[in-house]
């Protein structure tokens, strides 16, 4: 009965390691959060399933020769998948609110302080025994504060592939938690009076401006920060497809087919990085803690910059919209709208919050570019 023995030897219960079991439970938790709590389901469901698949003993789905291994190799190691997602995000995003009120870019800038504060935090964690984050690791962790999934995955794949799984999970989880994390901070830092501020309607934006926008951003990126060019380039390419108005077919492909297909593969491939030996470490706990701090600080500095702009404009800017500067599009803008409505039932801040919201995407891509240029060089 040699073959029966071979079959027994190949069974999961005969080969299961505790770490694998635990990681499969982590995968189930992510799927639960995605399905039952609607936590970023488009990403967390495939990530969770990828985590389960890649931790199945014997099967080796994430090891050389397995499907997830190939998908990771082709799509993430090359950086292609996050860039294609960014193209789709660009094709789906209307930058009109930002173009109508460019000053909201300052809010998107301020909220990136969450990134750099987390960088310091990650390095400081090295004082705790058991942590050993290099500057590259710390930078990859810090980008969680950018509240932007594809940017985080792109940077982590470049600077610290071993931490990619934990970083992606933290980034998407906290993005889903934005409605819980942000409101208390927003209320703490603003007065009832400030939250009641009604903002004037945004001016209309011409088609020409919308077409010139991607070029404006790209030119500055080329001149001052070429290391951010892959991210910003693809974001602006997608946006140009959308705004050009002459390539409807391609715009639809970027907004639907490509981003949907890539999302499935990206999620599975990120999940394949949730293996016991890289995820079940003290470092992961550190990353999760730092990620939460990053979101809090980013929200706070965004709101504080909102208060500064409120002063400078003599009360024309509602400081709440600063919280949307962390990006987490469009969740953060919706949270701003909701908190604003609590103070004034007729004050819809959604469109005004979309400005800093998309500014935050550009802001964290810029921050990623700086980190790549200095640390990744």
């Amino acid at each position: 009965m040699g073959s029966a023995d071979a079959l027994w030897q190949s069974m999961g219960i005969a080969n299961m390691a505790w770490g694998q079991l635990f990681m499969m439970l982590v995968g189930c938790l992510l799927i639960y959060l995605a399905v039952a709590k609607k936590f970023e389901p488009l990403l967390l469901l495939p990530i969770g399933f990828g985590a389960i698949l890649s931790n199945i003993p014997v099967a080796g789905i994430a090891e050389s020769g397995g499907m997830l291994y190939y998908i990771y190799k082709v799509g993430i190691e090359t950086g292609v998948f996050p860039l294609l997602i960014f193209m789709g995000v660009g094709a789906l995003t209307d930058f009109g609110a930002l173009i109508a009120m460019p000053s909201t870019l300052f809010l998107g800038a301020a909220a990136q302080f969450g990134i750099f504060a987390t960088l310091i935090g990650a390095l400081a964690l090295n004082l705790v025994p058991g942590f050993d984050f290099s500057l590259a690791d710390a930078s990859a962790i810090a980008i969680i504060g950018g509240a932007d999934g594809p940017t985080a995955i792109f940077l982590a794949s470049r600077l610290s592939p071993d931490l990619l799984g934990a970083i992606a999970v933290a980034a998407y989880s906290y993005m889903a938690l934005v409605p819980i994390i942000q409101p208390p901070i927003m209320r703490l830092l603003t007065t009832e009076q400030e939250r009641k501020i009604v903002m004037s309607q945004l001016r209309p934006v011409s088609r020409l401006e919308k077409i010139l926008f991607p070029f404006t951003v790209l030119i500055l990126c080329i001149l001052f920060l070429p290391s951010a060019a892959p991210l910003i380039g693809m974001l602006m390419f997608g946006n140009l497809l959308k705004e050009a108005g002459v390539v409807e077919r391609l715009s639809r492909a970027a907004q639907n087919e490509i981003i949907n297909i890539v999302t499935i593969f990206l999620g599975l491939a990120v999940g394949s990085k949730l293996s016991a030996d890289t995820f079940l470490t003290l470092e992961t706990l550190g990353i999760l803690a730092l990620g939460a701090i990053a979101f809090c600080i980013g929200t706070a500095t965004g709101v504080l910059m909102g208060k500064v702009m409120c002063r400078l404009t003599k009360g024309k800017v509602n400081p709440l919209i600063g919280a949307a500067g962390v990006s987490a599009v469009p969740m953060a803008a919706r949270v701003v709208n909701k908190v604003g409505l609590e103070s004034n039932h007729h004050n819809f801040l959604l469109m005004h919050a979309m400005g800093p919201n998309v500014a935050g995407v550009i802001g964290s891509a810029v921050a990623a570019g700086v980190l790549l240029a200095v640390v990744g060089g």
């Binding site: 009109g96 930002l98 173009i99 460019p102 000053s103 870019l105 300052f106 998107g108 800038a109 990136q112 302080f113 990134i115 750099f116 504060a117 960088l119 310091i120 390095l123 400081a124 090295n126 004082l127 500057l135 710390a138 930078s139 209309p204 934006v205 011409s206 088609r207 020409l208 401006e209 919308k210 010139l212 926008f213 404006t216 951003v217 030119i219 500055l220 001052f224 920060l225 108005g245 409807e248 639809r252 500014a359 550009i362 802001g363 810029v366 921050a367 700086v370 980190l371 200095v374 640390v375």
Partner: protein
């Protein structure tokens, strides 16, 4: 590298990073304002009217034409009764 050195590098990177982000986005504010002024000068009436809904795809157009055709037929058949 010692933690203290790392920390110093980190603080440097923070200053540099936040500086870069602010500088970059400030220039972008200026550039966008410039573009807005520029494009307002060149904008035709047609361009400015961005409140209209995005151009329907040809397929959608065909579909609604079909719908209208079906409705017209239905109503005319109904009238004949």
């Amino acid at each position: 590298m010692q933690v203290s050195e790392l920390m110093i590098e980190g603080v440097n990177l923070m200053l540099l990073g936040m500086g870069s982000v602010f500088l970059f986005l400030s220039i972008l504010v200026l550039a966008l304002s410039g573009v807005a002024r520029l494009s307002n000068r060149f904008a035709t009436d047609d361009d400015r009217d961005s409140s209209r809904p995005p151009t329907a795809t040809p397929r959608a157009a065909t579909e609604s034409e079909e719908i209208i055709a079906v409705i017209t037929a239905a109503i005319s058949r109904y009238r004949q009764r």
